[in-house]
């Protein structure tokens, strides 16, 4: 039986919709349930519910054969996994945001302080153009950091931009487009590739069905 790691959080709803189109009916209100492992579909598939940033870990170590992970946490984790499908769900952007008029340039006023849940991606983004920044890693509510003076800017995901606006922030720079990826473990692909490939094919058909519905 295949094991698939699914992220709790913002991706869970669209992932469940996609899986349901593919024939894996996961109960609604998953968030309220305490069970972290359940089986669904035919042939039965085991679904493991973990924190979004843990999905690449479970898949890289082969505890889960496959998983659904946002490109943000996937890149941040540097996990060595296969990523054959862009699932086109959970679309958003990874951006640098700050107060209107905030400069990102190196202007001699010292090092730019950047608060983020993605310390590695942030460092990479600024280093790529030779800018040294002070990265301040946070676990959540990153939008608060500029207001409270913890950081000058933030690097975070933006869907509609409403959360940013409510906290008096604007997008200063776009780092990349983010969406959920179907990821696979290399070893499991060598050991039970047929099974994994069948599931991948069913998912890409489900993606087509989802596109038609829109």
């Amino acid at each position: 039986m295949l094991s698939v790691a699914l992220p709790t959080g913002r991706l869970l709803k669209p992932a469940r919709a996609l899986l349901s189109l593919g024939g894996w009916k996961l109960p609604v209100r998953l968030e309220e349930r305490r069970r972290l492992i359940l089986e669904a579909g035919k042939p039965p598939t085991r679904f493991i519910f973990v924190k979004p940033s843990d999905v690449p870990v479970y898949v890289e170590y082969g505890i889960a054969d496959a998983g659904i992970a946002g490109a943000d946490v996937l890149w941040e984790s540097m996990a060595d996994v296969l990523e054959p499908l862009d699932l086109e769900i959970g679309r958003c952007r990874l951006v640098v945001a700050g107060r209107n008029g905030q400069s990102l340039a190196i202007d001699g006023t010292g090092t730019l302080r950047v608060a983020t849940k993605y310390p590695r991606l942030t460092r990479e983004h600024f280093h790529a153009r030779g800018q040294h920044v002070e990265v301040i890693p946070l676990g959540g509510s990153v939008e608060l950091a500029p207001q409270l003076g913890l950081a000058d800017v933030i690097v975070d995901l933006v869907e509609s931009g409403r959360t940013l606006a409510e906290n008096g922030l604007v997008v200063l720079e776009e780092i990349g487009a983010i969406s959920a990826r179907w990821i696979l473990n290399r070893s499991r692909m060598a050991m039970c590739g047929d099974e994994i490939e069948r599931m991948t094919d069913r998912l890409s058909r489900a993606m087509l069905a989802m596109r038609r519905k829109k």
Partner: protein, 372 residues
């Protein structure tokens, strides 16, 4: 305060390295012994390699200095040396220099640790025990087949029968890249996309580089799963003679392994393009249930020895002992670690000499004793 820090350090293990004792050592040595006995049985002879060598020796393993994949030290004469992150270049150097003049082909094996600084990603292990074997000189295709068979048989000797070997070829992608005339930036994007099966990424990179459709199809086909040796032939026709030759090599190797009865244990994955930079031909990677990573790997490296002054073709394979142990554990195989029970020798009265006399007598007859 100073004393406190010092004594804390004395009880701590530096990050990335580890020590083992008692039962764990018995377990590790039992698997090591099974593998090396199997290798000796195929006439591979042990070599002992230096723990350090000049950084240049490892350049093809780790790339240039900036990527930080090796510990570097300054030796007393001021040369930069590396703590061995890979053993194959040391074998290549030994064969090309110290063993120059020996009859070819030379078959050697080694068993020892490599050290790799932990990247930004993991806080885990940085010291790995590898058991590997290499064949230098000799005809390529029989040597490739021999290495594959010896690897699979060594695994069987260690108790891992469910392993699966994926074959690949390091010559294919570079030939395709040359044929398509890709620039370096595009090349690395194409390589990364293929390595991670990123279909959309590959498509975008190839379109931007205006690669012709028939050739695009070949790039795409590398990520497809190859089920039968015949499928490889179909791919070659559109891809040029170099690719065709590589595919033929792979096909023959695969068919030979099938004929030998390894059909269920062998497959082909043309998308495995990662690994050390010195590989030039057939590639091997072995996977097992219970471990998310390859338990062993290797390949042909025909250009490595010439850097050490003796151009010879070579092919090799190495097992990662830690991952192998995990795979064995997952499949429920416990290495036979039981030793002969020791005879307890007690001193009669208070005579220490008496006890030792008895023990010496037993030892000289080959018995295991334990003084009480």
């Amino acid at each position: 305060m100073v004393r406190n820090t010092r004594s804390r350090l004395l009880q701590r293990v530096p990050s990335g390295v580890q020590h083992y004792g008692l039962a764990e050592v018995r377990r590790r040595r039992a698997v090591e012994a099974a593998l090396t006995a199997s290798l000796r049985g195929w006439s591979y002879e042990e070599v002992i390699l230096p723990i350090l060598d000049y950084e240049e020796v490892f350049r093809r393993s780790v790339g240039d200095r900036s990527n930080g994949r090796m510990y570097r030290l300054i030796d007393p004469e001021g040369h930069v040396v590396g703590v061995r992150p890979d053993l194959t270049p040391l074998v290549a150097k030994l064969v090309a220099t110290g063993l120059r003049g020996e009859r070819l082909p030379i078959r050697v094996f080694y068993s020892g640790e490599v050290v790799r600084p932990q990247g930004p990603k993991t806080l885990g292990q940085g010291e790995f025990h590898q058991i590997g074997f290499e064949q230098v000189g000799g005809d390529s295709s029989p040597a490739d087949l021999e290495i594959a068979v010896v690897a699979l048989e060594a695994l069987r000797a260690a108790g891992l029968i469910s392993a699966r070997m994926m074959l690949g070829h390091s010559g294919i992608l570079p030939a395709l890249v040359r044929k398509a005339g890709l620039r370096p930036e595009t090349t690395s994007e194409v390589e990364r996309s293929i390595d991670r099966h990123r279909h959309q990424g590959l498509e975008a990179a190839l379109s931007r580089a205006c690669v012709a459709t028939p050739l695009k199809r070949v790039f795409r086909a590398l990520m497809r799963r190859t089920r039968r040796p015949q499928d490889l032939a179909a791919l070659g026709k559109q891809a040029g003679s170099t690719v065709e030759r590589c595919l033929l090599e792979l096909r023959r190797l695969w068919e030979d392994l099938q004929d030998l009865g390894y059909g269920d244990q062998v497959g082909v994955d043309l998308a495995e393009v990662g690994g050390f930079g010195y590989y030039t031909g057939v590639r091997f990677r072995v996977y097992a249930n219970g471990v998310g990573f390859a338990v062993g790997g290797g390949g042909r490296y025909d250009k490595l020895l010439e850097h050490f002054g003796s151009a010879q073709p070579a092919v090799g394979f190495s097992f990662g002992l830690d991952r192998l142990l995990r795979a064995l554990e997952a499949t429920g195989v416990t290495p036979a670690t039981a030793s002969v029970p020791a005879r307890a020798v007690r001193s009669p009265g208070h005579s220490r000499v008496g006890a030792l006399e008895q023990a010496l007598d037993l030892r000289r007859r080959g018995k295991r004793v334990r003084l009480c």
